[in-house]
């Protein structure tokens, strides 16, 4: 399983600051809703493809994968609008969604997670005033991206182990027999991960703030 992830290339799009790219994405979304016409949606889609494939030189498969993920949505939008209003509106709404999904894919494929996380941390900066550490929020985002594939893999392994011993439950029962052992593994892993974070200095004083002069520290 792969989440849309960074595709390294030496391109202008890659070099653009993450904040600027996210701003462009937001601006595109706003513009497409303020300008609800079929040519606007089609033009945006063409623009996104040019930026993604020609300028950023992303492999077409990266974008195709994202498009495939939303294909049923697109089809449903098209059909529902064609039946309730007209085909042109359906095409417009579907193209608009596709353009935005692909634009988001271009941003994620050209931006390192650490840069994205830095933007999230900056946006969460004001929370410092109420005692929240923005770096912690950034870590949570990064860890979610890191561990989703790990969990999927563990779930697959549990299902494979059960199948190897003749169990091949379906439906709700399958959910139950997979979820319980997965939960046990997740809790064990959470403990291991927290130890690893500790060992790598997760509870060190955050950078940029002055270190407390006294070496005396309480153990966590």
């Amino acid at each position: 399983m792969t989440l849309a992830l960074y595709v390294p290339r030496a391109s202008l799009v890659h070099r653009l600051p993450a904040g600027a790219k996210l701003l462009c994405l937001a601006a595109l979304a706003v513009a497409l809703f303020l300008l609800p016409t079929l040519p606007a949606a089609a033009g945006a889609l063409a623009g996104v493809l040019v930026v993604g494939l020609a300028v950023a030189r992303l492999p077409p498969a990266v974008l195709a994968r994202q498009a495939r993920a939303v294909r049923w949505w697109l089809l449903a939008l098209l059909v529902v609008h064609a039946l309730t209003t007209d085909l042109r509106t359906g095409a417009h709404v579907a193209l608009r969604l596709l353009a935005l999904v692909l634009a988001a894919a271009v941003v994620t494929a050209t931006t390192r997670v650490s840069e994205m996380v830095a933007v999230v941390e900056r946006l969460c900066g004001p929370l410092r005033l109420v005692g929240v550490r923005p770096a912690r929020i950034g870590l949570v985002v990064a860890m979610a991206l890191r561990f989703i594939p790990v969990l999927v893999e563990r779930a697959d392994r549990i299902r494979a182990a059960q199948a190897a011993r003749g169990g091949s439950p379906r439906g709700v029962r399958a959910l139950r027999t997979t979820v319980a052992p997965l939960l046990v593994q997740v809790l064990q892993m959470a403990h291991d991960v927290s130890e690893a974070l500790d060992a790598r200095g997760a509870d060190d004083d955050p950078p940029r703030r002055r270190r407390r002069p006294a070496p005396a520290e309480a153990s966590p």
């Binding site: 650490s114 890191r146 690893a196 500790d198 060992a199 005396a216 520290e217 153990s219």
Partner: protein, 248 residues
Amino acid sequence: MRFRRPGTAGAPAAADVADPGRGIELRGVGHRYGERVVLDGIDLTLTEARVGVVGANGSGKSTFARLLNGLVVPTSGSVTVDGLDTRTQVRAVRRRVGFVFQDPDAQIVHPTVAEDVAYGLENQGVPPAERAARVAEVLERYGLAGHADHPAHLLSGGQKQLLAIAGVLVMRPARIVFDEPTTLLDLVNARRVAGLIAGLEQQVVVVTHQLDLLDGFDRVLVVDGGRVVEDASPGPAVAAYRALMAGR
């Protein structure tokens, strides 16, 4: 000998008063989880460059290893690293003592290789330019340079463990504790990790069930029932361990 100058490999210590020559000292150390006594009566001074720890499952090896960098604090006695107490100066201790776990998946916390290696340096407040240089250097040294931007979950098991080790080495700890670093690896990768460990300039403490990993070590401890029952060079220590296990 290498272990005489571990301070040179260490990160610039905070406001601690480390005495690099002292090594890891355990004085009357015991540990219990609730009622259960897991370690008892341990008195040791570890200054050798290569220290191995062997013992049966559940004998207390991992608990022992975790004591050495303050992941576990003893319920009796004290553990100090270069004079720093793991109970009261745990952050300074962890900067001096790196820790590598058995399961690399639990140690990699960022989605891509370079980002994960940089993580510990961010915690230390290393400025971005220096961080990037140090990450690149470590990735190069451990054959991961071509994978800098790869998603960590697409690496092989051996590469993941190398990444986990790189993430610790980049922080330049003066000493490193490994808890079964090769258990989940195939023969080729286990050999690579063993070779890597052998080449480290730091003091190294390795807990392992793979006895050939201990070739060339200076000192091997055999742990049984929470006590150190043998403390010798690898030959006699491994022989004692085999004899102990044969009697079971």
